[in-house]
């Protein structure tokens, strides 16, 4: 049967057809939907782990127990999972293990643009790179075969243009793979130095065998069209090359690490001019130059996405001139939703002019005006540790005018480690945990603070307040983020203390709990003085009438959160149906 699937949906299907038993992942754009699609297959145990390191370790355990397992993450997530990955390369696998990593060239939704192919080279493991949905499904299946045949984890790399594109896929049946049983093999699975030294030799041998396998496999496809130009490419860039240069011969690589060098040398002899077209880092190019292949130089950018036009330009082919562009259009920037439970706390932070070490997630949006409440964003969990660093660097002085801001999912991800560090090292920073009971930005995946699992079954809900007290933190305060005066009072009080404090907010994301949506508010035009206190909240439902110089509320957008009446000093904002 043929079906139109997104790259992510196809990857999930590939895992299903490959007989995968366990999938443990942490959400991250553009990889998040894979595991959400996996949950539709009852045959697969799946879960949201608290972070990518944990997710990979769960997959390793499942592999050790003899079953095929997979973990999915975005590129920055692989940094978190890099520790187990490096040693997993040495232990190898029992049941097949696939690490699906989705890169984000052009950074549509990421804080950096790293090329995960570097990890394959670094960890000395094979990496496959599909170029459309059908290949994504097939390559996942192939990756499990390779994993078991060569006793290695296999990385399958996607990019935004694959994960979030759709094309036709031929569906297959699930193959039930019987368990290999729990493998009790100490020299293989206990990486003490004596065993590790032996396994490193195995890893180097394995890489050579993989190289030969790659050259002989159907993962490398030669398309000879003419002998003038030959292009070595892989993944999504293959599609751009085929369209931009239909007359060129192409060597399409399915496995880009280790490279099929024999096949590449063969191909190089069949063409007059040899080129490499790849996106981001020059992984293939560098390797081929090191092997002494004569490549023609092209001025390829090392940043952003390629495209058909970009490839045409590289080869001096004329591109369609476009007619016109319009500059200075009103933007539609990402914004915190109407009724977002983070807004009130950000308003308070902004009002007090506190320096906020931020984190990854919806609250990053607090960066934008008019709230302008965030001063740094590095990676998941960094806010708490950075605030501690800010505090220690200034002998506590800056701690009085700064806070760390982190969400619930991010806190569980790696913020918890930072908090433990601050406690242990006697820090006096103030940490604000914005608990909205869901992982908002990636699409509302549940987490240990939500109280349900990926499939909606009830699970214990972690209590932040008790957790922080168990850490030994004395100053733990829970506030209603929509009570701005209270937020300001608590922030002032806690930042002034020469002790560590945690402030927890207690309102759910409107998408996590729709019952919090109530009657919309409206502004009494006669009472509005045009002071703009409410428009400074940055709520998409609050509009400004330029002519009359008064504020208005778009009642179709208002969720009735009740924040704006609390900042209105003229008592001009009311709820429909409430006197």
């Amino acid at each position: 049967m043929r079906k139109v699937l997104s790259g992510n949906e196809a990857i999930a299907r590939g895992a299903y057809e490959a007989g995968v038993k366990v999938v443990s992942s942490y959400p991250g754009t553009p990889s998040s939907e894979i595991t959400d699609f996996v949950k539709r297959y009852g045959e697969i145990y799946c879960e949201w782990a608290v972070n990518e390191k944990v997710a990979l370790e769960v997959a390793i355990g499942a592999s050790l127990a003899g079953r095929r397992s997979m973990t999915c993450m975005k590129h920055v997530g692989l940094n978190v999972a890099a520790d187990p990955l490096m040693t997993l390369s040495y232990t190898g696998v029992n049941g097949g293990l696939v690490i699906l990593v989705a890169d984000d060239p052009n950074m549509f939704s990421s804080q950096n643009e790293q090329d995960s192919r570097n990890y394959a080279r670094f960890a000395k493991v094979p990496l496959l790179e599909p170029s459309d949905s059908n290949e994504a499904k097939e390559f996942v299946k192939k990756a499990f075969e390779i994993s078991e045949k060569f006793c290695t984890p296999v990385i399958v790399r996607s990019v935004t243009r694959l994960s979030h594109s759709m094309s036709a896929v031929d569906l297959g049946e699930r193959v039930e793979v019987t368990s290999k049983g729990l493998e009790n093999n100490i020299p293989k699975w206990v990486m003490v130095p004596a065993n590790g030294r032996v396994r490193h030799v195995f890893v180097e041998e394995r890489l050579k065998e993989l190289q030969t396998y790659n050259s002989e496999s159907d993962l490398v496809v030669e398309e000879i069209i003419s002998n003038e130009i030959g292009i070595i490419t892989s993944g999504i860039p293959y599609q751009y090359v085929k369209e931009a240069l239909p007359e060129a011969s192409v060597l399409k690589l399915g496995m880009v690490w280790p490279l099929p060098l024999d096949k590449i040398v063969d191909f190089s002899k069949k063409v007059k001019k040899l080129y490499v077209v790849e996106e981001l880092d020059p992984i293939i190019e560098t390797e081929l130059l090191a092997k002494g292949l004569k490549l023609k130089k092209i001025k390829r950018p090392l940043t952003g996405e390629l495209s058909v036009d970009a490839v045409k330009k590289l080869f001096g082919i004329k591109v369609n001139k476009y007619k016109t562009t319009v500059k200075e259009l009103p933007n539609r920037p990402p914004n915190m939703c109407p009724g977002c439970s983070h807004r009130g706390m950000f308003y308070a932070i902004s009002k007090l002019k506190l320096f906020a070490a931020g984190d990854i997630g919806c609250y990053t949006l607090g960066l934008l005006p008019p709230l302008s409440a965030i001063n740094s964003t590095v990676c998941m969990g960094a806010s708490i540790s950075m605030a501690h660093g800010i505090d220690r660097a200034s002998d506590g002085e800056y701690a009085k005018k700064s806070v760390a801001v982190i969400g619930d999912s991010t806190f569980f991800h790696t913020g918890i480690n930072g908090l433990l560090n601050s406690v242990y090292n006697k820090g006096c920073s103030t940490v604000v945990i914005l608990d909205n009971r869901t992982t908002g930005m990636t699409g509302h995946q549940p987490n240990p603070g939500t109280g349900i699992t990926i499939r909606g079954e009830e699970s214990p809900r972690i209590n932040f307040e008790l957790l922080c007290r168990a850490f030994g933190i004395k100053n733990v305060v829970t506030v209603d983020p929509f009570d701005v005066d209270e937020c300001i009072r608590v922030l002032k009080e806690e930042t002034s203390k020469e002790e560590l404090s945690v402030i927890i907010t207690n309102r759910p994301c409107i998408f996590a709990d729709r019952t919090v949506i109530t009657n919309p508010y409206f502004i009494d035009a006669d009472k509005c003085t045009g002071c703009t206190a409410c428009t400074r909240l940055g709520c998409p439902a609050i509009t400004w009438d330029k002519k009359k110089k008064i504020a208005m509320i778009d009642e179709s957008l208002c969720t009735g959160c009740g924040l704006c009446p609390k900042v209105c000093r003229f008592n001009a904002i009311f709820q429909r149906g409430v006197k």
């Binding site: 043929r2 139109v4 754009t29 549509f108 939704s109 459309d132 935004t160 243009r161 979030h164 594109s165 759709m166 094309s167 036709a168 999504i236 599609q239 751009y240 085929k242 369209e243 495209s307 058909v308 036009d309 591109v319 369609n320 001139k321 476009y322 007619k323 016109t324 562009t325 319009v326 259009l329 009103p330 933007n331 539609r332 920037p333 990402p334 914004n335 939703c337 990053t364 949006l365 008019p370 908002g440 930005m441 998408f511 428009t535 940055g538 998409p540 609050i542 509009t543 400004w544 009438d545 330029k546 778009d554």
Partner: protein
Amino acid sequence: MSFNILMFGVGGQGTVLSSDIVCEVAIESGYDAKKSEIHGMAQRGGSVVSHVRIAKKVYSPVISFGEADIMVSFEYMEFLRYMEYVNSETLLILNTNKIFPPGVLSGKEEYPEKVIKQKLKLFKGVSQIDALKIAQESGNVKVAGMAVVGALAKTLPFEKKVWKNIIESKVPPKTVESNIKAFELGFTL
């Protein structure tokens, strides 16, 4: 025969679902098709764009500049963001419903009415459609996007029956009737 269709609007308008439908209809009708979408970090209110490419064989999932055959703007001003895809043959299907961007709402920016009128002249053809009005006639304000899909379907050579089947399979069961009605009204405009 090939079509490059660029569809865009504001998060929450159903742009992504609509482009899924177009892609599936094309493949069901025996063509190769690919779709690529970029939805920003915003849950709603942000810009959303989908590229749909239909041909005997499609490689790149992304349309090149100057190569859109049809542009579908789910919001009245949004097509201005994508003018670099226009050529002398491009058709525009334009929902005349306006959603004011934050800068306009806060009074800092103007909704670009004049620029819209000017740039409309650059298209070979423009079909304007009041999708919200059609949605209201269909009994559900949330199906406005399907009226736009109906208007698009009229310009493509695929059978109406295929469109209806795919729509039925993609929308929530409770809304099938109103979605099909909006599609029909958009189609017969």
